[in-house]
């Protein structure tokens, strides 16, 4: 049964990137998108809600086993990416 969270339905879409692998993307939508199938919550993921916009999105249930070096390098650049997206910190 597809996951519906506060009026938002979870959809999955398989995407083949031009330069890269085939991946499955998940997104919530209120109206039926052009492509994508409604799905149940995938294993290992949970629903979270963005505090600012109130929109649901998927997060991991448990931490990834990425190394501490990589983690800290990415977190050091988080501010820049948030500025790119114009997200208030």
């Amino acid at each position: 049964m597809p996951l519906v969270y506060q009026g938002w339905t979870l959809y999955a879409r398989v995407v083949k990137l031009e330069k890269g692998p085939t991946v499955t993307i998940y997104f919530f939508a209120k109206r039926k998108p052009k492509t994508g199938d409604p799905i149940d919550l995938p294993p290992g993921l949970k629903v979270a809600v963005n505090k600012r916009t109130g929109l649901p999105f998927l997060r991991r249930e448990s931490p990834s086993d990425v190394s501490a070096d990589t983690r800290s390098t990415f977190l050091a650049g988080e501010g820049q990416v948030k500025r790119d997206l114009d997200e208030e910190e």
Binding site: L17, G20, F57, T70, R71, T73, G77, L85, E88
Partner: protein, 141 residues
Amino acid sequence: MRRSETTSTASQKGRLDRAVRDLNRTMKRALKDRRRLFFIGVFNIALTGLAAVVGYVVAGSQVFLTALGLGAIKDGSLWAGISKQVQSYLKDKAFLAVELARIRAVCTFFEEGDTEMYEQARLTILAFYEDLKMGHEPADE
């Protein structure tokens, strides 16, 4: 400074592209040193093999065996030193390749004027950071 809530779709596309570019740049920076170690390890083995073959052609089997024996000691000790770093490089690279491909895919599917999809793409990127933070903290809730 207050963020403007009304943004043009063109700038939304630009924002996503910029964010993806920064993520790719960060991935390269995060893996750069360990990537170098990985290639040092691989090239050393390749050059040891080449030296043994050249030794065999030029001077016969004894030189071949000597080159292989010394090469095994040299490369073995080298790999003993770098194996943990190389393993973490391969693991992180595999993880980031999939995660960033997923982010790229979501951003690729963002169409001009689709505010809902823009928000989903934006949240996918932010969720990636939240998930990384989760590994830093004992409890995420």
